[in-house]
Amino acid sequence: MSLDKETVRKIAFLARIDVPDDQLDPLASELSGILDWIEQLREVDTSEVQPMTSVAEMTLPWRDDAVTDGGYPERVTANAPDSQDGFYLVPKVVE
C-alpha cells in the first residue's frame, strides 16, 4: 500500500499535525514502508475469527451513574495555557 503526498496531507490534517510541504514526500515513503510491511497480515485467514475486543476475559463492571468527584475548577484548570474564572480560553471559533 503506497501513500501519495495528498493522502499524507489529508491524514496529517485529520490528526491535526502541521506537516510542511517539503516533508510530505519523505513522510509518504516512510509511512508506505511501514504499511507495506504490515501487508503481510493479509496472508492470515481470519474469515472465521472474531476480533479481540477484551484482553482479559472479564465483563466490564457497572457503576452507579453518580457524581463522585469534582468541585475544584481551579485545580482542574491549573495547568491550562490560558484560563479565566475556571474556564479554558481558546482562539475565536465562530467568525
Binding site: R16, I34, I38, Q40, L41, V44, V49, A56, N79
Partner: protein, 496 residues
C-alpha cells in the same frame, strides 16, 4: 559491609528493620550516586527534597513498628506515572511543565507501602521506542559497555530505559516501568536486570499517561526476582478507577518464588527460532536456560505458536491506532504546550501545537494510527489486526491448555546496540520487540531474567511467559533460572 546502593530491596528492608542504617542514609547514598552518574541521564526530574522528606517519615514509621512492604526503599518512578505536585513529562515537549494535581494509583500504592521516590525516570517519548532515543529530554546511556569497544555508548533499551539504567547503575534499588510491547522486558535485558510485565489488568492504569490502552501495563524492575515479587505486591490490586483493572486478589508473590520448578512443564516455542535472524549466540544462551530449568527438575517440551510471525505487524496497527486516539487530548487547550499566533483559529492552534510538541516517532505513529482508523480502511487494518490478535492469544491458550505451565524464550533478538548506530528504518527498530510483543497482544505476564553475558560482555535476558494472573509460576521459574545462572556481573562503570 556491602555498599548501601548495592543492596537488594529484600536486604535493605532487613537492614532498615534491624537499624543497621536509616532510610535517610539509604536515600542519601542513592542521591549521591545519582549526582555522580548524572551523565547517564537516567532521571528527567530528580526529587531529592521529597526523597529525604519521605525517607524521614519512613524512619519514623519503622521506629513505631509500622513499616510497610516497601518501607524506606528508594525507587525511580518512570516519568509516565502522574505524581501529585511533581512535573510529569512522558518524555515529551508537548506536556511542557505539566504538574499533575493527582497521583496515579500504582505510585500511590507504592507510597502507601512506604517507598521513597528519588525522581522521575527518563523514557522514550510517550513510551514509544525501544532505545530511549526518542526522549525529548535526551538519550539515556546504558551503564554497560562492550568489552571490545568500551568507549562506545550503548542504548539502555526502551521505553523504560531510564528506569532500567537507574537500577543497573545502582541509582535506585528498584523502579517502575510500563510495558506496551516490551518496554519493561527489553530494557531489563539490555541492562542486566530483572523486569516483569504483569498480566493485563493486574496493575491499575489510572494516572499513567496512556499510549495504547488495551496493551499498557505497569510493572516492577529490580535486581532480583524476589525484589520484583516484593514490588509487584505493593503495586498491584483492583482499582475501581480503571474499568479494566481485574477484581482479583493479590497473592503473596514472595511466598511462591522458592517453590522450585520440579514437575513444571516448560514450553519452548519453535517459532522463536526463525531460520533467519536469531544469532547463534542468543540461541546458545536460550539453550543454556532450558538446561538450567531441566537440571532444576522441570520438563521441557517443544510447542508451536503458529501466528508468532504476524504479531509485530498486528501490534504496529493496534498500538498506533489506540495511540492516535489517546494522544488526541494534547491539543493545547487544557494543559501542556500551546503554539498560537495572532489571527490563528482553533484548528491552526491544534495543528501548530501538535507539530511543535510531538517528536518524529510519535508523529509517525499517530499518522499510521489515524490512517488505519480512517473511513474505508478500518476493516482492512484495525479489524484485521484485532482478528490476528485473537489468533495469537489462542496460540498461547492452546499451549497452556495442553499442559504447559510456563514458556521460555529469549527476551530480545540481540544485546544492547550503540547510541550512534543509525537505525534509519523504523521497521528495523520495531524488530527489537519481536519476542515480547506476542505476550503483550495476549495480555499475559512476561518476566525477563538476566542469564548470561554475550561475547562482547553485554547482559542478555531470557523471558518466561505464564498463564493469565499466574505471575507466581512465572516468578518461581524465574527464581530457578536466577539461581542456576548466578548472574553477578556488574556494569564496568561501577568497578574501581
Amino acid at each position: 559491609m556491602t555498599k548501601l546502593t548495592d543492596l537488594t530491596i529484600a536486604e535493605a528492608r532487613k537492614g532498615l528493620d534491624r537499624g543497621d542504617f536509616t532510610a535517610v542514609e539509604l536515600a542519601d547514598a542513592h542521591l549521591a550516586a545519582m549526582e555522580a552518574h548524572a551523565g547517564l541521564n537516567a532521571y528527567i526530574t530528580p526529587t531529592p527534597e521529597r526523597a529525604r522528606e519521605r525517607a524521614a517519615a519512613s524512619d519514623a514509621r519503622i521506629a513505631k513498628g509500622e513499616a510497610g512492604a516497601m518501607e524506606g526503599i528508594p525507587i525511580a518512578m518512570k516519568d509516565l506515572f502522574c505524581t501529585d505536585g511533581t512535573r510529569t513529562t512522558a518524555g515529551s515537549n508537548i506536556l511542557g511543565n505539566f504538574v499533575p494535581p493527582y497521583e496515579s494509583t500504582v505510585s500511590e500504592n507504592l507510597w502507601k507501602a512506604g517507598a521513597v521516590m528519588l525522581g522521575k525516570a527518563n523514557l522514550d517519548e510517550f513510551a514509544m521506542g525501544s532505545s530511549n532515543l526518542t526522549s525529548a529530554f535526551g538519550s539515556v546511556v546504558n551503564p554497560w559497555t562492550r568489552t571490545d569497544a568500551p568507549e562506545r555508548k550503548l542504548v539502555p533499551g526502551g521505553s523504560s530505559g531510564g528506569s532500567a539504567a537507574a537500577v543497573a547503575a545502582r541509582l535506585a534499588l528498584g523502579a517502575t516501568g510500563t510495558d506496551t510491547g516490551g518496554s519493561i522486558r527489553q530494557p531489563a535485558s539490555f541492562c542486566g536486570i530483572t523486569g516483569l510485565k504483569p498480566t493485563y489488568g493486574r496493575c491499575s492504569r489510572w494516572g499513567i499517561v496512556a499510549f495504547a490502552s488495551s496493551l499498557d501495563q505497569a510493572g516492577p524492575m529490580a535486581r532480583s526476582v524476589e525484589d520484583v515479587a516484593i514490588m509487584l505486591g505493593a503495586m498491584a490490586g483492583h482499582d475501581p478507577k480503571d474499568s479494566t483493572s481485574a477484581p482479583v486478589a493479590v497473592p503473596d508473590f514472595t511466598a511462591a518464588i522458592e517453590q522450585g520448578v520440579k514437575g513444571l512443564t516448560v514450553g519452548i516455542p519453535k517459532e522463536y527460532k526463525p531460520e533467519e535472524g536469531l544469532s547463534p549466540e542468543i540461541e546458545a544462551i536460550w539453550t543454556r536456560g532450558m538446561e538450567m530449568l531441566k537440571d532444576a527438575g522441570a520438563k521441557t517440551v517443544e510447542i508451536s505458536l503458529p501466528h508468532t510471525k504476524y504479531a509485530l505487524a498486528a501490534y504496529y496497527i493496534v498500538a498506533p491506532a489506540e495511540a492516535s486516539s489517546n494522544l488526541a487530548r494534547y491539543d493545547g487547550v487544557r494543559y501542556g504546550l500551546r503554539v498560537v499566533e495572532d489571527g490563528d483559529g482553533l484548528n491552526d492552534m491544534y495543528c501548530k501545537t501538535r507539530a511543535a510538541g510531538f517528536g518524529a516517532e510519535v508523529k509517525r505513529r499517530i499518522l499510521i494510527g489515524t490512517y488505519a482508523l480512517s473511513a474505508g480502511y478500518y476493516d482492512a487494518y484495525y479489524l484485521k489486526a484485532q482478528k490476528v490478535r485473537s489468533l495469537i492469544a489462542k496460540d498461547f491458550k492452546d499451549a497452556f491448555d495442553n499442559g504447559v505451565d510456563v514458556i521460555l524464550t529469549p527476551t530480545t533478538p540481540s544485546a544492547a546496540f550503540a547510541l550512534d548506530e543509525e537505525v534509519t528504518d523504523p521497521v528495523t527498530m520495531y524488530l527489537n520487540d519481536v519476542f515480547t510483543v506476542p505476550t503483550s497482544l495476549a495480555g499475559l505476564p512476561g518476566l525477563s531474567v538476566p542469564v548470561a553475558l554475550t561475547e562482547q560482555g553485554l547482559p542478555q535476558g531470557l523471558q518466561l511467559i505464564g498463564r493469565p494472573f499466574d505471575e507466581e509460576t512465572v516468578l518461581r521459574a524465574g527464581r530457578a533460572l536466577e539461581k542456576a545462572a548466578a548472574f553477578t556481573a556488574k556494569p564496568r562503570l561501577l568497578e574501581g
